[in-house]
Amino acid sequence: MRDAPDADNLLGTARDSLLANILPVVAPAQRREILMIANAIAIARRSLAAGEAPLLAELAALRALYPQPGGGETRSLATDAELAALNARLVRDIRRGAFDAPGCVRSTVEALLREAVVHKLRENRPKLLGAETH
């Protein structure tokens, strides 16, 4: 086992210290840099907390769009390569106009894209999701 505290606690404590102890005493020109560092730590913490869940959700949605014979079992992240391959296929299909026609498939793809963006925003900038998450 690792020694405590865990990564989330370490990052959170480091960020709190930066904001409480360093930010008030730096020159005004450095304030922006300190706030950027604090923001980067916050994003990294949220990404660690989310773990693989958003990627697995994205993978499930892509597999539903592109069913594989005999496939469908969601494992841990051997998924990176599969996720990239399915997204590359989605990109090719979007570009050749496979989802141009209004209807069920187009709506499914639109929802899938939106969901993937919402997952990213939960980590990157959750305050923007106030009215957007549904």
């Binding site: 020109a29 840099e33 950027m36 560092i37 923001n39 980067a40 994003i43 990239a84 997204n87 590359a88 989605l90 990109v91 979007i94 570009r95 106009g97 989802f99 141009d100 209004p102 793809v109 639109e110 894209l113 939106r114 993937a116 963006v117 919402v118 990213k120 925003l121 990157n124 900038r125 923007l128 957007e132």
Partner: protein
């Protein structure tokens, strides 16, 4: 890596004296200016002895960083664009002198007049919370855009700009796709936007000069009044609505999301200033199209910015954080496209 302005003081002073036909020039102060990830800007206080600008002059020196993005004009070219728009009556810092890579700093730079004011978006937007002030500023910016657009392809002062293309929108779509094709990871949301842009193109228009990064943050305001448009390195022959759409991108509004015109006002005063100064009539559907274009391109550029960091050519926390803001730009593009689809289906 710092620019050796302070190390090259003697050579720089000799250049300044020669350029101003002065007996001598002495740099009293040299202060680096913040802002801009692509260039280094220095504020110089220079004492000239005689010549065309005798006495103390407040100037700005703008030089390349060692790394410059593809598609950027060189400092010499940017200087020529500024001279051309200056003579067309556009509010810019008066461009004075340019030096080549063999000059005193060993890289291209130019010198322009320093002007009082702030370009910091937070300050400009806070000041524009007073509705009358914000609307006046937006109107002034619309006027500036109309003046910029008086420059047209064939202008023999700007031979270095890439030739105008008949279908600017398609050219931008193709360039963005080419960039995505070279990216190590697929970006389906940006592709979704590009496909929409391809299918919904408004009629092409005659090319005009576009600033290329016309936004809150790239103009100087003082006491709520417009002082000057800055940062001309992305100028190009483009579509008349291109800069207007870019200006209205949500990203620039910070928390003033209801102020579509750069966080300072609604769109109307911007468009009114533009029309009053002779801008071509603005079709609102076409403007919506160019706002989608702005978001889709900006999403791709934010990935490119992160890539500058990841490749190790320009390691920077700021570039990291821009990369992590891609999602919010993508969300905006999806919402703009969905709004358009909903509107069309209502009218069907």
């Amino acid at each position: 890596m710092g620019l050796s302005v302070t190390a090259a003081t003697a050579a720089l002073e000799a250049f300044l004296a020669r350029s101003a036909a002065a007996q001598c020039a002495r740099i009293a102060h040299a202060t680096p200016l913040t802002g801009g990830t692509l260039h280094e800007n220095w504020r110089l206080a220079v004492d000239f002895d005689g010549g065309t600008l005798p006495g103390r002059q407040e100037l700005v020196l703008r030089a390349d960083r060692p790394v410059c993005l593809a598609g950027c004009l060189s400092r010499r070219e940017e200087f020529e664009v500024m001279k051309a728009v200056w003579s067309a009556g556009v509010s810019v810092p008066e461009p004075l002198w340019v030096a080549g890579a063999r000059g005193p700093l060993g890289r291209e730079f130019f010198v322009m007049r320093w002007l009082a004011g702030t370009a910091a978006p937070e300050e400009v937007i806070a000041r524009a919370a007073d509705a009358a002030a914000g609307e006046r500023l937006a109107r002034q910016l619309g006027t500036e855009l109309a003046l910029i657009q008086r420059l047209r392809p064939g202008d023999d002062r700007l031979p270095f700009l890439a030739p105008a293309v008949p279908d600017r929108a398609q050219a931008l779509i193709a360039a963005t796709r080419a960039y995505l094709d070279a990216c190590p990871t697929p970006h389906p949301v940006i592709e979704w936007g590009l496909r929409w842009l391809e299918l919904n193109k408004p009629r092409p228009a005659g090319a005009v000069l576009v600033h290329g990064d016309f936004r809150t943050g790239n103009y100087l305001a003082d006491g709520g009044e417009l002082v000057a448009i800055l940062d001309w390195e992305l100028a190009a022959w483009g579509h008349p609505l291109e800069d207007l759409g870019w200006f209205c991108m949500r990203f620039w509004r910070l928390d003033a999301v209801d102020h579509a015109a750069g966080g300072i006002a609604r769109r109307e005063p911007l468009l009114a200033g533009y029309a009053a100064a002779g801008g071509s009539p603005v079709d609102r559907e076409a403007l919506h199209y160019w706002e989608v274009m702005a978001n889709v391109r900006w999403a791709a550029i934010s990935i490119q910015q992160a890539e500058r960091h990841l490749s190790g050519t320009d390691k920077s926390l700021e570039l990291c954080l821009i990369g992590r803001r891609t999602a919010e730009i993508e969300l905006e593009s999806l919402q703009l496209i969905a709004a358009d689809t909903a509107r069309r289906s209502c009218h069907a």
